[in-house]
């Protein structure tokens, strides 16, 4: 009996030591897989918004991701609905569609067709209109808008300005 209880105690003591060690090592393993500080710290992109031409899609790069910049034509601005308009980034009197150029389904890059004024994704058949709203599933939501701050004629991606905060609060982007 005495021996049994002693073994029982030793078993539990080992179990406790092993459990602490296991939890500790899982924390270390999880953290070792996290993005490195250098990866996180990199990534503010400043764009001069005066260079873009109407209905010509330009793809910029931010944090390794493609960023769509589309300067809307006067007709587009005139015909767009309130919902489409709410997604505009207005600099001076120019209206821009700025979004992360990855399909919200599984992350392929949709191609822009100027004649259709629409984005089409080759991977799974999703489509978006010129303001980035979904017109054909599977994508679950409009193209995401990256964090931005308007600074005069330039746009800083990665910083959060009041216009972006407003979009986030109203649920226009994630």
């Amino acid at each position: 009996m005495k021996n049994d209880s002693r073994r029982g105690f030793m078993g539990k003591a080992f179990g406790a030591v092993a459990a602490v060690g296991a939890i500790g090592s899982f924390v270390a393993m999880k953290k070792s897989w996290d993005p490195l500080p250098s990866v996180k710290a990199a990534g503010f992109t400043t764009l001069d918004m005066s260079v873009y031409k109407e209905n010509k899609l330009v793809t910029e790069k931010w944090r390794g991701k493609p960023i769509f910049i589309l300067k809307k034509t006067a007709e587009m601005v005139a015909k767009q609905t309130e919902e489409q308009k709410a997604r505009d980034i207005v600099i001076g009197d120019a209206h821009f569609m700025v979004s992360i150029g990855l399909c919200t389904h599984l992350g392929c890059i949709p191609a822009y067709k100027e004649s259709d004024e629409a984005f089409k994704c080759a991977c799974h058949g999703g489509e978006f209109d010129f303001s980035g709203e979904v017109t054909k599933v599977p994508p679950p939501r409009a193209l995401d808008i990256p964090p931005f701050r308007i600074d005069g004629n330039t746009l800083v991606l990665g910083e959060v300005g009041p216009e972006y905060t407003a979009m986030k609060e109203t649920g226009i982007t994630l």
């Binding site: 793809t59 390794g64 493609p66 599984l106 080759a122 599933v137 679950p140």
Partner: protein
Amino acid sequence: MAHFTKATSVKDWLNQRLAIEKVEKVLASEYWIPKNINFLWAMGMVLVVTFVFLLVSGLFLLMYYQANIETAFYSVNFTIMREVDFGWLWRHVHGVAASVVFLIMYIHMFTGIYYGSYKKGREMIWISGMLLFITFSAEAFSGYMLPWGQMSYWAGMVITNLFSGGSLHADGLVEWIRGDYVPAQAFLTRFFMLHVVLLPLAIIGLIGLHFAALRIPHVNNQDGEELDFEAESKKYLAGDKAGSKVMRFANDFMSKDMMVVGVYLIFFFYLVFYNYGFAMDPVNFDPADGLKTPTHIYPEWYFLWSYEILRPFSIDIGLIAFAFAQVIFIFLPFLDRSPNSVPANRRGLFKFWFWGMLVDMIILTSMGKLPPEGIFSTIGLIAALVFIAMWIVLPLITKNEKQVQGEIDEK
């Protein structure tokens, strides 16, 4: 206390220390295989041989491959393909074997389904086999990342995005898996680790489990007959080889097994030398570019059926359907409620279920390769719905199945 005597031969010396004769009997000459089988029973050995090819060719590729996003593409397409003598051979063997191993696995699986080899004590064989299939899928995917071409990059992007769980938006989890916002250096190096160390270790362990699971229930036979292996093996050892329903694993069964392997090897090396193109996607001969998606992204042929189940639905339903397709085969022994473990053609409605499932998976596979437009989208959607519906009706049709086991066993 073990007692050792002066050895009379090298064999005796080893026998005293390692019991090699006993081990040989347990593993080979007195491991009993039913006689009533056909060439489909050789697929296990074909898979072992293919796995060895993957291992050996992989070792040679590993000596020149560089897991760096700047140099990976060139280390494969220039160093290995152009500079290393016979480097092309290792790459083509590796690529062709990675593709063919799935073909053989599918044949192996459907053989098991047809002959009911997942029932009556053989459940663990089936489950360990399906775990092997899943681990091989992860191995194939991680290996596909390594050449760091356009298909590597975009397949990596799409597949890791699956882990965001659709509307759950678990972007943090996706970034954690990648170690970056997009597939980059951290991503390549960790998938390299998975491909060359962790997953192969898991595969080797699971192969051990798969073989161990066979020992007690033994291999099934063409009629699903329940054999008394004890009695049949005694009959064999007593000299009644013709009357016994079993034979030795080695050399009896192995000689037939290796005959099939021989035919397979001719087919395999025909592919390696003359027709390796199917395993080498042309799009992957462009270096990875995060700012340009290829026009059509599709997985290798062996993933097309499950990819097609993902594609026609909105993201959340698609992900649920995809997850369903990935795991449902594991539960086959429990979803099939019939006590019969006989070939599908003697099992009433299950016969139609078996052939229906096979045809549906072939349709899903062909639709998955085509662009998601027009009629192909519709056929794909219907085939995906049929796939799910068939698994839902399986317990119902098998529950009411007429018992046929008795007649077979009496025969």
